[in-house]
Amino acid sequence: MVESEKTWHNLPDRVSSRYLIDKLSRRAVFACAAISLLVLVAIVAFILREGLPAFIQIGVGEFLFGAEWSLKGQEFGILPLVLGSVLATFGTLIIAAPLSIACAIFLAEVSPKRVANVLRSAIEVLVGIPSVVYGLVGMAVLVPVIRKLGGSGYSLLAGIAVLSVMVLPTMTTITEDSLRAVPRGYKEAALALGATHWQAVWRVTVPAAKSGIAAAFVLGMGRAIGETMAVYMVIGNVFAFPTSPLDPARTMTTHILGQIQEAAVGSLHLRALFAVGIVLMIFILIFNSIAFALRRRVQ
């Protein structure tokens, strides 16, 4: 009697606590998702809060199109940085795009399965290697080679070469995925009409996958423009307009890295660095939105 009464009294408690836990956990996981989103909002808010006053103080035109950055004169113009970033990014695209398409076609269509698996794991390792290691190897191998062509070796060209290797895995993997996503029937129809394997791939599969391939390129460019350490180590980081690929240059990211430790808290200098961050984010946002739209078209 006592025992069963005890059970009876315990039971509703347990049932209700079970549901209470259910409710509380629901709120807890919701809070986690909300905090995660908040991180993004906080990043944007902080960068804007610190950076926007610089735009106003310096003047939008003077900031974006000025070619002087001097702490003494309190002049902050970033045109050479924007140009450096854009040149490095497009240079990377020019080298990495053909190579990654060829490599993706090789993986998806040409190579025997075993070879493809070996190459795929090699690409996976390349993705994981820290960017400072790329920079180090660039310093030790590429820079002396480029020095023989002229200049100090620390140059836009060295930056582009290192970036190309770094974005190659991303671009190849996404390109291969979009080639594989093309329905088999397309290629088979082309083959049935008497096309060679290459004609079927180049004139049917690749055009059918073009949105995905374009998305791969844009994502690669996003990575290239945001990369910092490896580029800093080989590009020379000279604040000037490069006139040839052998000239040193400076990108937005390497500029922030080079000055972030020196800028005093609350100074216009620091705010100007945040403003460079805003310009960088705008570039990335444009690249990402293009990639997002392209990938949506694929689906």
């Binding site: 919701f30 995660s36 090699a122 290691v133 190897v137």
Partner: protein, 286 residues
Amino acid sequence: MKLSPKISQKVAWIAMWIAGVIVFLVLIGLVGFVFLRGIPTLSPGFLSKPITEGGILPAIIGTIYLVLLTLAIAVPLGLGAAIYLAEYAPKGKLTSVVRYGIETLAGVPSIVFGLFGMALFVIVLIGTQSILAGALTMACLVLPTMIRTSEEAIKAVPAAQREASLALGATKWQTITRVVFPAALPGIITAVILCVGRAIEETACLYATLGLSLLTPTSIFHGARTLSLHLYMLATEMPGDRGALVAQAMGTAVILICMVMLINFLAHHLSSRYMSRIRGTGSCEF
């Protein structure tokens, strides 16, 4: 001049092979070069001496501190968010805004995280560059990886398992913790491993938040440096004999590459086992 289809096929195939071989050679060349130059530097002393005597022990300890603290912040938060997105989130505008937000967060460059971490964690919240500030910054950076990868793992658990649990009278939360979570665990562990990998390799976000200290850290409020940050300092900024410093950098790079390969192997191994289990062909321990 127009090539016949057969010849152009051959030429194209050769070109594709060359591209594949180039990419493969780049990897072999890169890793081989680092190992050739770096392995002679490796010695018990290199691993156990302080930085001032040419060792990397403080950087190893700094890396461990940073990785553990980053995981302690990012894993619970990311897992909670992933559970919400996979199990609770209504399919609507708000959810897709959250997803787009996380997607965008994944594309923010490391150096911008560094700026943000300095503005919020270093200047406003903590006051100094420290392991805590670095780990908070790094946690923000790995959060999207954690959320996306574990959400996919949770979503891959068959709906029938949830329904069976609910039919037995379990609450939704009981179903999630006792049925869905164990089934998704290998995928979630993969997510954690990927986060460890990023915490080891990302450097730009730590440059102005972690403090670059040469000393072995003893508390999370001290400055420190990770292996990759130390490598960068060796290669660029540290004063001294260039040749010796670059040799040390190569030795550090060997250790970093080994860590990354181990992480790749673990993640790959777990995810393939996990896939076979979802398909019902692997062994089932739970």
